[in-house]
């Protein structure tokens, strides 16, 4: 085979200097860098209420990726077009220390390109899934609504950031204790009231719990062209829940968003298309229309996202 290197090249060295060959070499043995199968995902851990200065907070961990989400509530006058609706404003912050390159990619204080894309996608997911009924954030219709600033800080990055960010965002919304704000119509001022001792804080009702699963597409290894067609490398590889290393060699990274057992919100590819709400069957029906990559969206991915969503639900219900 052509994947031959000098004996001096240890696997660790190969990982650094030729990441694609490293993954290909492992793929020949049907295994990934961290020992997972191609279609296996890393477990999701979620802890709620991790930051006490935020009204709602959650820490999500997927493998080595750690994100902390915190929600702060502010008030303002609503838009005339939606007088009874508040807002949830998610922003992803990729800290300089989260990965070896993150601190160098973005000048301090500015979100990197990746963070901007993730913030947008997260906002789309939260909005389109209709997870929060915005009328719950109304203090006084037409006068005062709450705005939930949801800041998601990535402190350690090893792939699957969108999934972790979404889980943490949902967790922080679930944990959010809405402040007891009263609006005085005579003076037009809103004021924060102390919660009566022992009273349960008002929490948001989540209409749905969205969860996503990332996948990466590794192209067929050129160096292995001519191999037997049953080799795992003869076709493009679909890696479920890729790590940062695997994301680097993937030509396409996307994610599937699930809202329920057979309810799909859609999926995105690196280009950022969101295919509108559809069922898994509908997703697969798009296939003949030329989405070659879609053929890779096999049942494993569909099952995977359902399983991860189940895990999220379980962790949320622990609270």
């Amino acid at each position: 085979m052509s994947l031959s290197y000098n004996e001096d090249v240890t696997p660790e060295l190969l990982r650094v200097i030729h990441p694609q060959d490293y993954i290909s070499a492992l793929a020949l043995h049907n295994v990934r860098g961290d020992g997972r199968q191609f279609d296996a995902m890393r477990p999701l851990e979620l802890a709620l209420g991790t930051v006490s200065s935020a009204e709602g907070s959650a820490t999500a961990r997927i493998g080595n990726t750690t994100v902390v989400a915190g929600a702060k509530v502010e008030i303002g006058a609503p838009l005339a077009s939606a007088p009874g609706h508040g807002f949830v404003i998610p922003n992803v912050i990729i800290t300089g220390g989260s990965s070896s390159e993150a601190g160098r990619l973005a000048p301090s204080g500015l979100p990197s390109d990746q963070a901007q894309v993730l913030s947008k996608r997260l906002a789309d997911y939260l909005l389109q899934s209709g997870c929060v009924d915005m009328s719950q954030l109304c203090v006084h219709e037409g006068q005062c609504v709450m705005v939930v600033y949801l800041d998601i800080v990535c402190v350690a990055y090893d792939g699957g950031l969108l999934d972790a960010a979404l889980a943490a965002a949902v967790g922080a919304l679930r944990d959010l204790a809405l402040p007891n704000i009263t609006f005085d119509t005579s003076t037009g001022t809103a004021s924060l009231q102390a919660a009566p001792a022992g009273a349960q804080p008002r929490r948001l009702t989540l209409r749905s719990v969205p969860m996503s699963l990332s996948f990466g597409m590794v192209p067929a290894s050129a160096s292995l062209a001519g191999q037997a067609t049953d080799s795992p490398l003869a076709r493009p590889l679909l890696l479920v829940d890729p790590t940062a290393d695997e994301e680097v060699v993937s030509t396409g990274v996307g994610s599937v968003l699930s809202l329920g057992s057979d309810r799909w919100l859609g999926f995105t590819l690196a280009a950022g298309t969101v295919v509108g709400g559809a069922t898994s069957a509908a997703v697969r029906q798009v296939e003949p229309r030329g989405f070659g990559l879609l053929s890779l969206l096999n049942d494993a991915v569909c099952a995977g996202v359902a399983a991860r969503r189940a895990a999220l639900l379980k962790q949320l219900s622990i609270v």
Binding site: F87, T95, G96
Partner: protein, 264 residues
Amino acid sequence: MADKRRICAPIDTVPPVGNPRQPCTAASGRLGGRDAMAVRPIFLETDVNPQATGSSLLEMNGTKVICSVYGPRQSHRRQPFRDTGVIDVEVLTSPFAGTHRLAPGKNAQDGELAALVEQALLPSLRLDTFPKLSVDIYIVILENGGSVLPAAINCATAALASAGIPMNDLAIACNTVSIAASAPASGADQSQQSLWIDPCLEEEASPDLAGSMLVTYMPTLNETSLMISTGSAPPTQVTEAFHTCLAGCLSLHKTIVECLTRDA
């Protein structure tokens, strides 16, 4: 002007005004009846970020700081040749760390904190062992529950130790606030001050606050790398606060060393 790099609310918002946390006073004593010389319990864990050369998470009752250290590696800044290494400190306060949401983006306080952390850490490092290279230190303040600068310094020194960066000593920081006994009318009674070590947010916001002091101390070298005071006091009281901080540094040093050796 709308910030196109971030998602902004379509309306102007303000934090709700109401009863914030009650600050501690000289009369009320410390929050939760803490002893004047007692440090909050510390939770310190290293290697929380496997991507980094070294990292640590420090929690002290409502103050949470994460630090990741990379390097020594080539500096990404253009700089003239040096025969010693440099360190590059960046501090980011998360928007939800304080009582009110912090507008995102670089704020002046983070820059000042970074400069002070750098000054505190520099003498503890053997910069001559990595000429031309840079050690990048990224600190994220997840939650500010008071004494955030000493927490950032202690977290960073633990992360540097776990990263295996050659060091002279651990740089341990501790701060105190001095609370004037509530007899401001007399004025002459200036010697009545009580020193509260490792203050929390409610204690830092005390209306009886007469001053504060932060000291970074390297116990093995017996050297102080950073010292800052605020407020005005006679030299004897400043010296007293200094010695109190040193005592606090020594007790924190013991705890941090225990945590580091346990994790190693």
